[in-house]
Subunit: 120 residues, 2 copies
DNA sequence: TCAATAACTCAATGAATATTGAGATATTGA
DNA sequence: TCAATATCTCAATATTCATTGAGTTATTGA
């Protein structure tokens, strides 16, 4: 991931609705969720607003879509997320392991499914 | 780190000048660098523009400042960066370790000081 | 083919952000 | 105290982003 991609990923995540969509889709797993279900989960979100944010996320490469009948199913692009994490680590750690150490320590708990998932 | 803080951290990093400042300051280490030196390193950056972005970063908690004589020295806030990494991991990994695994693997090389530091 | 459903596109508006330039404040050394 | 240096603040402008509402496209089932 280069600087340009990192910038667009950060911009994509720097918006409440989009950050929520990403979290929702990561939780949803590889099968993803149809646009309508995402809108329903968000509660507030007109069709065009949702479409705007979904295409913004897709353009940034953080989510992908496929059509299934009348629905368009969105899902998280896991490699893009892990690349972003790697960028932050590499970029912000190089020469300074003290930045990453706490994050990695936190990870050991965080990656155990559904444990201490109270950060929302 | 809660959603609100994560949003402002992402917004702070979603701007070319600010991302560069953060990278510069992480490399600079805990001693930091005076505003003037940061401006010089960026090449383009009027005094007021630099000040605007530095205070944006400071407001987001990613950098801190102290006065030293005529200069104001800025430095990276390492815990804020590691919290952001942890947020991304926890948030985007929970239940889906496959997101974090590649990032953690990348880390093992990245955190060795000055090795393969060619990503800039 | 028609009506209904799901989601997208587009143009207009409003809101937030970035840049510039002029001027203010703080600090130092003569 | 004065001039020089380093940086900040403020107002104006320019740019970018988000939201809305109207209208369009694609798909399905009757």
């Amino acid at each position: 991931m280069d600087e340009t991609h990192a910038l667009s990923a950060f911009a994509a995540l720097a918006q409440e609705t989009r950050l929520r969509i990403v979290r929702l889709l990561v939780e949803a797993g590889p099968e993803g969720r149809p646009a309508g279900a995402i809108g329903a989960a968000l509660g507030d979100a007109s069709s065009s607003r949702l479409s705007f944010h979904l295409s913004h996320l897709e353009h940034a490469g953080l989510v992908q879509s496929r059509r299934d009948g009348r629905s368009i199913i969105y899902s998280a692009v896991y490699p893009a997320l892990s690349d972003l994490i790697a960028f932050l680590m590499r970029d912000c750690c190089s020469g300074h392991p003290e930045v990453c150490a706490p994050a990695v320590a936190a990870l050991s708990c965080a990656c155990e499914p559904n444990k201490d998932d109270t950060h929302a």
